[in-house]
């Protein structure tokens, strides 16, 4: 094996190495910690981009790289496998990590201890969950990710954080138990833990085994659905995301996507068309769940009274859209959902970071007054009695305003940014499956999806506009912020990413379609994984 063959495991080992090394480093040496941490995240970004390039060189659905840990042959050892989707998720994680860590370095890493180590450990977990091809190993990486996320969520302590954090811990611990039960059942039914191996074992399986396996898969899915914040398993999310320090909340934008990634991967792998009776198992439930989530999230957005709660419900809305999106059949819909995910993750992270800066410029007293004024303003046409000369906006505020508008456009799916394109592609593919000349035969859920996609955007607009006007436009309600480059750059970078995938929608979608095609060809992927041989012969 040459050194490049080890590239696939670097996203796990690099942050682990850095995290472990940072544990005993004194908290006063912040500069060192920040530098090392950023080196790690940018290293991860470079690795992910290399893997992305590598993944797109492969023509079929087979993984571009596999890695047999301990050199044990499959299905006995643990294997990592990377294809386009994996590499894409790694890259997305790395981008988020770079941005949030930079933002955190401005002030938030100081409010508690071990921030940098925990941050790296969380990256270990997230990256591992994307890379692993083994169900139990997936559980392990989920645990790594969750354990680190507990620490990060509680980072900074305080009553609010501890309260929300402990809810988060309790729910996730319960979900982990569910996870374990599911894995045990699948292992009992299929006799293997390797995902690819399980997928290949399903078609010839006896009905009794299939039944057990489906039970296991359904229970396992619950664990991922908790993570991906489906209603009614998402009560913990708005509170804990609002309580987390902003950079942590921004990084958590990827966490719900981990759940969705695993669902997408496992569902298409295990219950592909070859799976006989089990093909597409549970798909309709995913769709209903996604729609319910989207509906409740829309209500939550409408009722939200502050940015952080709104951001939390936006996370849920994004999850609902994605869950419904991946449940729609076909390569086109999967690609559209992935495209939507890219944009919404970047935008959500940017928005969480932005809320921190927005909180800083608001002046509570003046804000309250503005609300009252708005509520009690006299009815009817008011003739202008105020000065008809505008107010100049300082550059820092202009930056915040622009970022806010861009985030709004992204989160609500308003034109012209990628949120709009993603929603359009989803709507178009949802309809494309049905013969529109027989309108009555188009299922109600499809219409419901269409309506909810539009309405959730509207709910977001109404609330964001209300909050935005209150914050930016009410005179003298804000202190002019001191904006530091290290805080502005991550937001600008994330939003630039949104703009970039909008402008380059064609090539990006081309890549995503290849990704989706590979995903839908689960058998080829599974065979590709199982064909990987250990170094030096069949078995070491």
């Amino acid at each position: 094996m040459n050194l490049l063959d080890h590239l696939i495991i670097v996203p796990i080992l690099l942050p682990l190495l850095v995290g472990a090394a940072l544990v005993p480093v004194d908290e006063h040496r912040r500069r060192l910690k920040v530098t090392v941490g950023l080196c790690s995240t940018f290293g991860l970004l470079a690795t992910a981009l290399a893997l992305l390039w590598q993944a797109d060189q492969v023509s079929g659905a087979a993984p571009s790289a596999t890695y047999l840990l301990g050199n044990w042959s499959l299905p006995f050892g643990i294997a990592l496998a990377a294809d386009r989707l994996t590499a894409l998720m790694l890259a997305l994680t790395a981008v988020l990590a770079c941005a949030t860590l930079m933002f955190a370095a401005a002030r938030w890493d100081r409010v508690g201890v071990h921030f940098h180590a925990l941050f790296q450990f969380m990256l270990v977990g997230v990256n591992g969950a994307f890379l692993t091809n083994d169900l139990f190993n997936l559980f392990v990486f989920f645990e790594v990710m969750l354990a680190a996320s507990y620490g990060l969520l509680l980072h900074g302590s305080g009553k609010q954080r501890v309260r929300a954090g402990l809810h988060y811990v309790a729910v996730n611990l319960a979900a982990s138990s569910v996870f374990l039960i599911g894995v045990a059942l699948i292992y009992a039914a299929a006799g293997s833990l390797n995902m690819a191996d399980i997928a290949l074992r399903i078609p010839p399986m006896s009905p009794a085994d299939t039944h057990l396996l489906e039970t296991g898969a359904a229970i396992l899915a619950v664990a991922f659905l908790v993570k991906s914040a489906i209603w009614p398993l998402n009560f913990w999310l708005p509170g804990s995301y609002a309580a987390a320090t902003p950079p942590v909340a921004a990084m958590f934008a990827i966490m719900t996507k981990v759940g969705i990634y695993v669902l997408l991967r496992l569902w298409l792998l295990l219950f592909s068309d070859e799976a006989g009776d089990s093909a597409g198992f549970g798909g309709e439930w995913l769709l209903y769940g996604g729609l319910a989530t989207l509906a409740v999230a829309s209500l939550g957005m409408l009722a939200a009274q502050d940015f952080k709660r709104l951001a939390g419900y936006s996370v849920i809305a994004s999850s609902g859209t994605l869950l419904a999106g991946i449940a729609i059949e076909g390569v086109g819909a999967t690609a559209a959902a992935l495209y939507y995910m890219l944009g919404s993750t970047l935008a959500l992270a940017a928005f969480f970071l932005l809320t921190d800066l927005l909180e800083r410029i608001r002046d509570f007293g003046a804000n309250l007054l503005a609300v009252t004024v708005e509520a009690f303003e006299a009815e009817g046409m008011v003739l202008p009695d105020q000065d008809e000369v505008g107010v100049a906006i300082p550059a820092a505020l202009a930056f915040l305003g622009m970022s806010f508008v861009l985030c709004t456009l992204m989160l609500t799916g308003m034109p012209p940014l990628s949120g709009f394109i993603g929603k359009f592609a989803l709507m178009a593919t949802a309809l494309a499956h049905h013969d529109l000349t027989q309108l009555a035969q188009v299922p109600v859920v499809t219409w419901l999806l269409l309506v909810l996609l539009v309405v959730s955007g509207l709910a977001g607009i109404i609330t964001l506009m209300r909050l935005g006007i209150r914050l930016f436009w009410v005179p003298a309600s804000h202190k002019v912020p001191r904006l530091r480059l290290i805080e502005a750059a991550p937001i600008a970078g994330l939003l630039l990413g949104c703009v970039l995938i909008t402008v380059q929608a064609g090539p990006v979608m081309g890549f995503l379609q290849r990704t989706a095609e590979a995903l839908h060809d689960g058998r080829a992927f599974a065979e590709g994984v199982m064909n990987s041989a250990p170094v030096g012969g069949e078995v070491n």
């Binding site: 094996m1 080890h6 005993p24 680190a148 009992a188 209603w231 003739l383 034109p415 436009w473 005179p475």
Partner: protein, 969 residues
């Protein structure tokens, strides 16, 4: 780059540039914006040759070809005319705005948004793709929002902007949905494909949906009844914005859309009903309301609404001739209304007020403006020899045509609306320019600078020229537009001023005469000036309804939301269990369940043991709420049963580890239990559970029972099935020959699945760090701070003193003596791990127990004085050791964690098996010790700190550091 792309791109580039100029660069901004708008106009003019030849210019920019979304810029005659209209009026508005905006206004923002709006509007006009059209459509809403809210320090601007945006953006979203469905029906989002598919669309099942959604988009944008209320509110914008957006262009986007899709959607009953109905209602209501406005711009706004209603009604009529009139009136209205708005702006600018009740007699002070406004208002009223007359005449003719001889309703309504429009035009002119000169004006008015008036002059001239010689001026261009929309259906029409004495002329005369009469009557009988409310229609206030609906929606959302989610933990966990239950049952609904008999006989001793374990578990749950200590002890009992079960089924390894884990965790939880406040039972407080509580508890009990039962069933299913094809056999076979150890469990842990172990030790380390980070700032509840009876010694004994000379002296000695023994045991367990029960994990736990014991008898301070431990270093080095061991395989060209078992022959000792897994296990050992001790310290220090804080005395952090313990800050 194609010039079509350039026409759209140029304003956006200008917008970016304008935003970057300094705040007071009024002239620069005007030059920039002026040249951009003029540039667009010139570019459009250059296309005339090609367009006039009947070509449809197309430029395609590939964007998202996979979903049929490409940027297609498409210009036919109609788009050409509209482009020209937008860019020319844009230019005039820029010129006007240069003088209108105050020198102190931060104009970069203004011009930047104005140009962006123009770009978006041109984008709508030139879109050759349905989705692209929606995209630019929403952009016009967004930029319009920014422009209305330009003076955002004013509450009316904020409200106006918000309302306008909410209404138009909602319509835009409806349009979006409509366009997606339309595109799916046709099978293409390309406008050219859609335009030829009219028959297919109209006959399609989905036609009504498309029509409804598109109509929603168009009617909201063009401020048609019942969505008209946002437009008067949008008048809070600076006047150039009102002139540009809310009279000439943006509100025309709705009309534009209806004309654009006229060949596809028009000609059905539903179309006439929806579009025509809305248009008719708007026409009459708008004109009526306009009469009673006191704000100059308000009057013009309602007049705009009414005129847009006229155009919409024409389109709704559905005949080709009506469509021609609609296109014609769109252009005419833009010219006279823009000039009127500018005139209103001048009046506002010069006098400082827009209130009709304050103004009067301005003709003496501003004669030229007066003349211009009068001509424009006459065009608005439909006075002959002006352009407004021509299109209104065509409108009247159409109403007669479609109604037949029996039905007089439509012509009557049209005449009535015309009559109203004469009245409000008259009121506008009369009350502003005639009558006694106004007093107490905020400013003394005089004529504006020439270049501020120039745009009005240009527009009024256009009104006049078109009105007098329509055939020579607008004729060919209008024809171009009409042909490009109607194609083969283009009717014969005549633009001449004089059609002879006919019914339409009679209607015009009636409207003119009646309008003047109505104004006179109103002046005499009903003093309009003193009216606060609009007669008849004041009950319907769209704006108030809008606010009410919005409030209701938000409130409703909040209430429903409150019911559908919860901030409490218990409901969340209940849902988790419920959903898991349902998920587990899901496959059973369609699958077969294969229940077999237990393959072996039940051992009574084993069953007894499990019965006890089960009772312990249930009892622990029962006691957990009020008696935590008891619950903990009971959980320990269950844990012991689990240990015994492992041993029973020949897994001594697991039994050993589980035992050590049980001990360590119980001790750590006990340490934490100390800080939890006591919970009082309801009996102690004298509270009785309500019926509701009882029902809830019964429900929860039921769910819990079902969950437990389900779990048991699943376990039974798993245990009774054949394990033939499992990978388990492999591990049993290969553990010794390839894993180099006879202890299969350990070989699995450190070799076959070493990566899992690696991850799990990382989890342990992370949890320890988290506990440490959390407890570092922990302040116990006040009721938990007081010392326990044992600690609260009146003679000032501290735990450490106790250990050295007090009652704990003897046990302390024993414990200290035990420490080396435990360490040897730990090393022993570690060394034999690969072949016999043991290993790094359990060895680490035993080591931790040794340390815990010292803490227990010696107290925190005493132990840390004697035994410097740096758990962070242990954790870190444990992880790094495991990592580096795994990385060692890279050197030999093997994957991470590949093991190697060299058997070096050492002097004296002989051959020593030294698998690399050994080093890995050492890492595990180190981490387990570090993590356990870190948690122990974190918990142990609570008592030290809380005592310190209660005693108001404490060691400085430096002293702590000297002792080698952890620093607490």
């Amino acid at each position: 780059m194609s010039s079509l792309v350039l026409i759209v791109l140029l304003p956006f580039l200008g917008s970016c540039l304008a935003a970057l100029l300094p705040a007071n660069a009024r002239n620069w901004e005007a030059w920039l914006a002026g040249s951009v708008t003029l540039g667009c106009a010139v570019l459009a003019l250059l296309q005339y040759g090609a367009v006039a030849g009947g070509d449809v210019l197309r430029t395609t920019v590939s964007w998202l070809p996979q979903y049929g979304l490409n940027l297609i810029f498409r210009m036919d005659g109609f788009a050409w005319l509209f482009t020209l209209l937008v860019s020319v009026i844009g230019f005039l508005v820029v010129l006007y705005a240069r003088y209108y905006m105050s020198p102190e206004d931060p104009v970069p923002r203004f011009f930047s948004f104005l140009l962006a709006f123009m770009g978006a509007m041109l984008g709508v006009v030139l879109s050759g793709n349905l989705i692209q059209l929606v995209l630019f459509w929403e952009l016009t809403s967004l930029t319009s929002f920014m422009l209305i809210g330009y003076w955002h320090h004013r509450a009316d601007a904020r409200r106006g902007a918000r309302m306008a945006f909410t209404v138009t953006a909602t319509g835009g979203l409806a349009l979006f949905a409509g366009m997606v469905i339309l595109g799916q029906i046709v099978g293409s989002y390309d406008l050219d494909d859609v335009l030829v598919a009219g028959d297919l669309v109209r006959a399609h099942d989905g036609y009504l949906w498309v029509l409804g959604l598109v109509a929603l988009g168009a009617l909201t944008k063009s401020a048609q009844f019942p969505f008209h209320f946002w437009l008067p509110r949008a008048m809070a914008a600076p006047t150039p914005v009102s002139a540009f957006l809310h009279s000439a262009t943006m509100v025309k986007a709705g009309v534009f859309l209806l004309i654009r899709f006229w060949p596809v959607l028009a000609g059905t009953e539903a179309w006439s009903l929806i579009i025509g109905g809305a248009g008719l209602a708007t026409l009459v209501i708008g004109a009526f309301l306009a009469i009673f406005q006191h704000d100059l711009k308000g009057l013009l706004a309602y007049s705009t609404i009414s005129h847009l209603g006229l155009i919409t009604l024409l389109l709704g009529i559905g005949t080709p001739l009506a469509a021609v009139a609609a296109i014609f009136h769109t252009i005419n209205h833009a010219t006279f209304k823009a000039s009127l708005f500018m005139a209103a702006g001048i009046i506002d600018h010069e006098t400082g007020t827009r209130d009709l009740r304050q103004l009067g007699g301005l003709r003496h002070l501003m004669p030229i403006t007066t003349t211009l406004a009068m001509v424009a208002a006459a065009a608005m009223a439909g006075v002959p020899l002006l352009n407004g007359f021509l299109s209104k005449e065509m409108f009247f003719a159409e109403t007669i045509d479609v109604s037949g001889s029996m039905n007089w309703g439509l012509p009557l309504a049209a005449t009535l609306a015309g009559l109203f429009s004469v009245t409000y035009s008259l009121r506008f002119i009369h009350e502003v320019f005639f009558g006694p000169p106004a007093r107490d004006l905020p400013r003394v008015p005089h004529e504006p600078p020439y270049w501020m008036r120039f745009p009005i002059e240009a527009l009024v001239l256009a009104c006049l020229v078109v009105g007098v010689v329509p055939g020579l001026t607008i004729g060919p261009y209008l024809h171009l537009a009409v042909v490009s929309v109607l194609g083969g259906a283009t009717p014969e029409y005549s633009l001449s001023v004089w059609h002879g004495f006919n019914l339409p002329l009679l209607m015009s005369v009636a409207a003119l005469g009646g309008g003047v009469l109505l104004y006179l009557v109103l002046e005499k009988c009903l003093p309009v000036r003193s009216l606060d409310k609009v007669p008849l229609l004041h009950r319907f206030d769209g704006q108030r309804e809008f606010e009410r609906v919005l409030m209701a929606v938000t409130g409703f959302a909040g209430r429903v939301q409150h019911r559908l989610t919860s901030q409490r933990l218990q409901p969340q966990l209940m849902w988790l269990v419920l959903v898991t239950l349902i998920a587990g049952l899901l496959p059973s609904l369609r699958g077969v369940t294969d229940l077999r008999e237990l393959p072996m006989a039940l051992d009574p001793a084993f069953a007894m043991m499990w019965l006890i374990g089960g009772i312990c578990a249930v009892a622990a749950a029962y006691q957990a709420k009020y008696h935590r200590l008891a619950a903990l002890a009971l959980v320990g009992g269950t844990g012991l049963v689990v240990c015994l079960t492992f041993a029973w089924f020949s897994a001594p390894d697991l039994a050993l580890t589980q035992l050590a884990v049980e001990v360590v965790t119980t001790v750590l939880i006990l340490l934490g239990l100390r800080w939890l406040p006591r919970r009082l039972e309801p009996k102690e407080l004298g509270i009785q559970a309500s019926l509701r509580d009882r029902v809830r508890r019964s429900r929860d009990f039921l769910i819990a029972t079902l969950g437990g039962g389900g779990m048991a069933l699943l376990a039974y299913l798993v245990l009774t099935r054949d394990q033939s094809e499992s990978i388990a056999d492999f591990f049993l076979e290969k553990a010794l020959p390839e894993g180099g150890g006879t202890n299969v469990v350990n070989v699995i842990l450190v070799d076959f699945r070493g990566f899992d172990t690696f991850g799990e030790i990382a989890v342990l380390g992370i949890v320890a760090l988290t506990v440490y980070a959390l407890l570092r700032r922990f302040r116990p509840a006040p009721e938990s701070i007081h010392l326990s009876q044992q600690q609260d010694d009146p003679e000032g004994y501290t735990p450490s003193k106790d250990a050295e000379e007090g009652s704990l002296l003897v046990p302390g000695l024993f414990m200290r003596a035990l420490m080396p023994v435990l360490m040897v045991v730990s090393i022993y367990l570690f060394m034999r791990g690969h072949n016999m029960p043991g290993g790094g994990f359990v060895a680490g736990l035993v080591m931790s127990v040794a340390i815990i014991l010292q803490y227990m008898v010696g107290g925190t301070e005493w132990v840390e004085e004697k035994l410097p431990i740096r758990p962070h270093v242990w954790i870190s080095s444990g992880l790094l050791l495991a990592l580096l061991t795994g990385l060692g395989a890279w050197v030999f060209g093997y994957p991470f964690l590949t093991t190697h078992s060299p058997h070096p022959v050492l002097p004296l000792v002989g051959e020593v098996p030294l698998p690399s897994a050994f080093l890995f296990d050492l890492g595990v050992f180190s981490l387990v010790v570090g993590a356990t001790v870190l948690v122990l310290i974190a918990l142990g220090h609570q008592s030290v700190r809380s005592h310190r804080s209660s005693a108001k005395a404490g060691d400085t952090p430096d002293e702590n550091r000297q002792r080698g313990a952890i620093r607490w800050s």
